[in-house]
């Protein structure tokens, strides 16, 4: 690798890295009730949004949701009583039911939702590794056959040419 090439690649990489990260700052605090509202589903029934992000009005979706605002006030009320975050969430779930979790609980049937993506990934990865190993064995066998063949027939040569063409053409 030449020096110029190294410098060019490094400059490109650093530009990409430096440009966005210059803006990084520490996250600001929104009022705590609003933050907690992001962990509870809005009770408007028109969407899957949290009370902290629900932004529709009157069944349409055109602004801050009044029901979400009410829920935020309830959360604030619980906080004013001295409840901690988990207690506030539990109080809201007690009132609105398990459907008010904005994400599935990590217990009972809700756990299935959390486990399944990992299962898909692991099962898929195992399948891919299995397929690759199987195809590799075929590749090794084909290579061995080719090595044992003393002369190359015109058919095999033509096939190899076709493969080479495929591998390089667009």
């Amino acid at each position: 690798m030449t020096r110029t090439r190294r410098i060019l690649i490094m400059a490109l990489g650093l530009t990409i890295a430096a440009a966005p990260v210059t803006v990084l700052r520490v996250r600001a605090e929104l009022d705590h009730a609003h933050e907690l509202g992001k962990r509870i589903k809005c009770s408007c029934g028109g969407c899957e949004q949290s009370a902290g992000t629900c932004y529709h009005v009157g069944g349409s979706f055109s602004g801050p949701c009044d029901l979400a605002k009410t829920m935020i006030k309830e959360i604030q009320g619980h906080l004013d009583k001295g409840l901690n975050d988990d207690q506030v969430i539990q109080a809201m779930i007690a009132k609105y039911g398990p459907g008010a979790y904005v994400e599935p609980p990590k217990t009972g049937f809700g756990l299935v939702a959390w486990v399944m993506p990992g299962v898909y990934l692991l099962a898929g990865a195992a399948l891919v590794v299995f397929v690759i190993s199987r195809w590799r064995k075929r590749g090794v066998a084909a290579e061995a056959t080719a090595r044992n063949t003393k002369s190359v027939s015109p058919e095999i040569l033509e096939r190899a040419r076709a493969l080479a063409r495929k591998a390089t053409e667009e």
Partner: protein
């Protein structure tokens, strides 16, 4: 005009029915006249759908309030271009619009290939007619946009009447992006019908060779490009209109649009294995099938009310029709596959675990896992209700937790894949290709850390983005260097020349670069800040380096709405930057209100200001301010992705043309017969 439109739509149904039934007969009999007549029936259906669509637009523009659909989605004061847009603002019109876009694709295919692929096209035409027939059935008999307002008369018959004015268009749809977002998204959805038709046709016809896969790939890229643009425009619309400060909320409708995009992306990668190595034929065919099925499934999910969505405009009882159609599609695909699966026999062989082929397999794995995870998450509330009796919500936090690691894994593979050689990658090649990108990636991560990034995923994202950008840069550098050595062009010209010579490969790299930019933008979300505060005139809000001063609150009367707006002066480091005007619009016609967000956008961050209403007791206005870093990178990334896709769709320039004037190298006679000249002159590998 309503009668004309309704009749045109009915006639289109008849033509499509003939194209389907006649097409089946043509396939069985191989009668040339029958083949020709069914093709012409397909073309006629497309033209008639065009006329029907034009009729609905005419009814909107002329304020024909005797039509139920026009009354529901328009009013006299609505601006003319929004009257045109109102075509797709509701269920009936959007389905007709769907038909219309599908007919443009079908028309293009039937006309462009009328004298080509004689064995394949009757199958393609028949399959397309089948899909078109389904949508025409819906538009004619289930959700017709041509219903007139009528009440039961005293004589027992129906008495038709017209209203003086309509109910108006949903306020959130009265935004310029609504003119281009649905057409793009629908073009993506409908566009996936064409690769589906080609893949199924090739399977049914046992079409020899690999030509069909080239056709399928090309049409998939077109649909994929539209889908990408549609998704990003939708995200931008949500960002600029809804006022919650974000652009992607994992709403079921958003998820539905993302699913075929994921499988389409997987296909665009794995198809290369079929083209280069003759591998994964079964997988590719099923990826195309599944992509189309996901388009139908997504439509069913969002229009049936099975899952709740902010896109409530589209909910109705037509879901069962889509379920039926989906079952038919699955049945046809399964029968076609089991009957002809020997046709898809592949020469699946791998030389090494460390190869381009393996990276594609893992790329497909991650894309498919993401797709299944999103689909199962979207449907989980329904499943939980079935199994437990109570509905468990699955919102954005769940999807973020599941998909962020998958996205980062995919980003990693985006960098690794192109650096691996086909068949086998040697240790020396690995060291040579990866050393500097890894060093640069680590440096990128270190810089991000030094500048205060402490969010783990964001840090990894910056590191991987730098790594991938370095690999892409290195690829361009290597190729351009060879061209430069031969032609004495500048670096930039060499890179352009390189791209034009191998548009697919380097267009793909440009797409990857766009994806990197999008990832950088997404990583910025980890550093979002927001403040909500009640402020009176003269009050201030501080966020990051900005101070916002509320100068006034006023009202302005527009033709279709009344706007209450804040006049907010933005100061940065105590210096005035600009004035922002966040609004709340009240639409008297349909008694609805909506926000109009004011955004001060730079490449570093977006200052996003929402007029969040007035405190009912104190009458003090509430301002909601977000500081969202790097959002613009998402939109710019999207533009780069589209540019890359367009480049990849262009035909590659023959290498010999580039070297015009220079003498072509001597090629041994035997070699010249074996390898095309273009190959002999091409650098690099793919």
């Amino acid at each position: 005009m309503d009668v004309f439109g309704s009749f045109a739509l009915l006639l289109a149904f008849v033509c499509a029915l003939y194209a389907l039934l006649g097409g089946i007969a043509a396939i069985l009999t191989r009668h040339p006249l029958l083949i020709k007549s069914t093709r012409q029936a397909g073309i006629a259906a497309c033209c008639l759908i065009f006329l029907a669509t034009l009729s609905v637009v005419y009814l909107f523009v002329t304020d024909n309030f005797s039509m139920s659909y026009v009354v529901s989605h328009s009013n006299r004061d609505l601006a003319t271009f929004f009257k045109v847009v109102a075509l797709w603002s509701g269920q009936e019109g959007s389905l007709l619009f769907w038909c219309f876009l599908l007919s443009i694709y079908i028309f293009s295919v039937l006309v462009a290939y009328r004298n080509k692929h004689g064995e394949l096209m009757p199958y393609v035409g028949t399959i397309l007619a089948g899909v078109q027939l389904f949508f025409l059935t819906i538009s004619n008999f289930v959700a017709s946009p041509f219903k007139s307002l009528a009440i039961a008369g005293s004589s027992g018959g129906l008495e038709y009447f017209a209203k003086a004015d309509g109910n108006g268009l949903n306020p959130v749809l009265q935004y310029p992006e609504m003119i281009i977002h649905p057409p793009n998204l629908y073009s993506g959805y409908t566009g996936f019908t064409i690769p589906f038709a080609f893949a199924l046709a090739a399977l049914l016809a046992r079409y020899p060779g690999e030509k069909w896969i080239h056709l399928t790939r090309k049409w998939t890229m077109i649909a994929w490009c539209f889908q990408t643009v549609g998704i990003l425009l939708g995200a931008h619309w949500a960002y600029a209109v809804l006022g919650w400060g974000g652009y992607w909320g994992w709403d079921p409708v958003e998820n539905a649009s993302f699913l075929p995009w994921l499988t389409g992306t997987a296909f665009l990668h794995s198809v290369m294995m079929q083209e280069k190595r003759g591998m994964m034929k079964v997988w590719n065919v099923w990826l195309v099938f599944i992509t189309f099925m996901l388009c139908i499934l997504g439509t069913m999910l969002t229009r049936s009310g099975v899952v709740s969505s902010v896109h409530a405009f589209a909910q109705s009882n037509i879901g069962s029709w889509f379920v039926g159609f989906l079952l038919v599609v699955i049945a046809v695909c399964l029968v076609a596959y089991f009957k002809n699966r020997d046709y898809l026999k592949s020469e699946n062989q791998l030389d090494s675990m460390v190869s381009r082929e393996s990276s594609f397999l893992f790329n497909n794995l991650v894309l498919l896992v993401a797709c299944i995870a999103i689909l199962s998450g979207t449907l989980f509330p329904v499943f939980s209700e079935w199994f437990t009796g109570s509905r468990i919500s699955v919102g954005a936090p769940f999807f973020n937790k599941v998909n962020i690691p998958l996205g980062l894994l995919l980003l990693f593979l985006t960098g690794v894949g192109p650096l691996l050689a086909w068949r086998k990658t040697s240790g020396e090649s690995l060291r040579r290709n990866f050393l500097w990108p890894i060093v640069i990636g680590l440096l990128g991560g270190a810089i991000a850390f030094a500048l205060g990034a402490r969010d783990f995923y964001a840090l990894v994202c910056f590191l991987l983005s730098t790594f991938v950008a370095a690999t892409i840069g290195a690829e361009f550098y290597r190729g351009a260097k060879v061209i430069r050595a031969r032609s004495n062009l500048t670096w930039l010209s060499s890179a352009v020349e390189l791209t034009l010579r191998n548009t697919r490969r380097y267009g793909g790299y440009i797409v990857h670069f766009g994806i990197v930019m999008i990832f950088i933008g997404l990583a910025g979300q980890a550093f979002n800040q927001e403040v909500q505060k009640e402020i009176g005139v003269g009050g201030t809000v501080r966020i990051g380096p900005y101070e916002l001063l509320l100068q006034a609150v006023d009202q302005k009367q527009e033709k279709n709405y009344v706007a209450e707006r804040m006049i907010v002066e933005v100061l940065k480091n105590h210096k005035p930057v600009m004035i922002l005007f966040p609004e709340r619009r009240n639409f008297p016609t349909n008694q609805e209100s909506g926000t109009m967000v004011a955004i001060y956008s730079t490449l570093r961050e977006d200052l996003y200001v929402v007029y969040a209403g007035v405190n009912q007791g104190s009458e003090v206005p509430t301002i909601h301010v977000f500081l969202n870093p790097l959002v613009k990178w998402v939109w710019f990334g999207g533009i780069v992705v589209v540019m890359g896709t367009i480049v990849a769709l262009l035909p590659s320039r023959h290498a010999a043309l580039v070297l015009a004037g220079s003498k072509a190298p001597e090629v041994a006679p035997g070699f010249a017969n074996a390898v095309p000249s273009s190959v002999a002159l091409r650098e690099g590998h793919d």
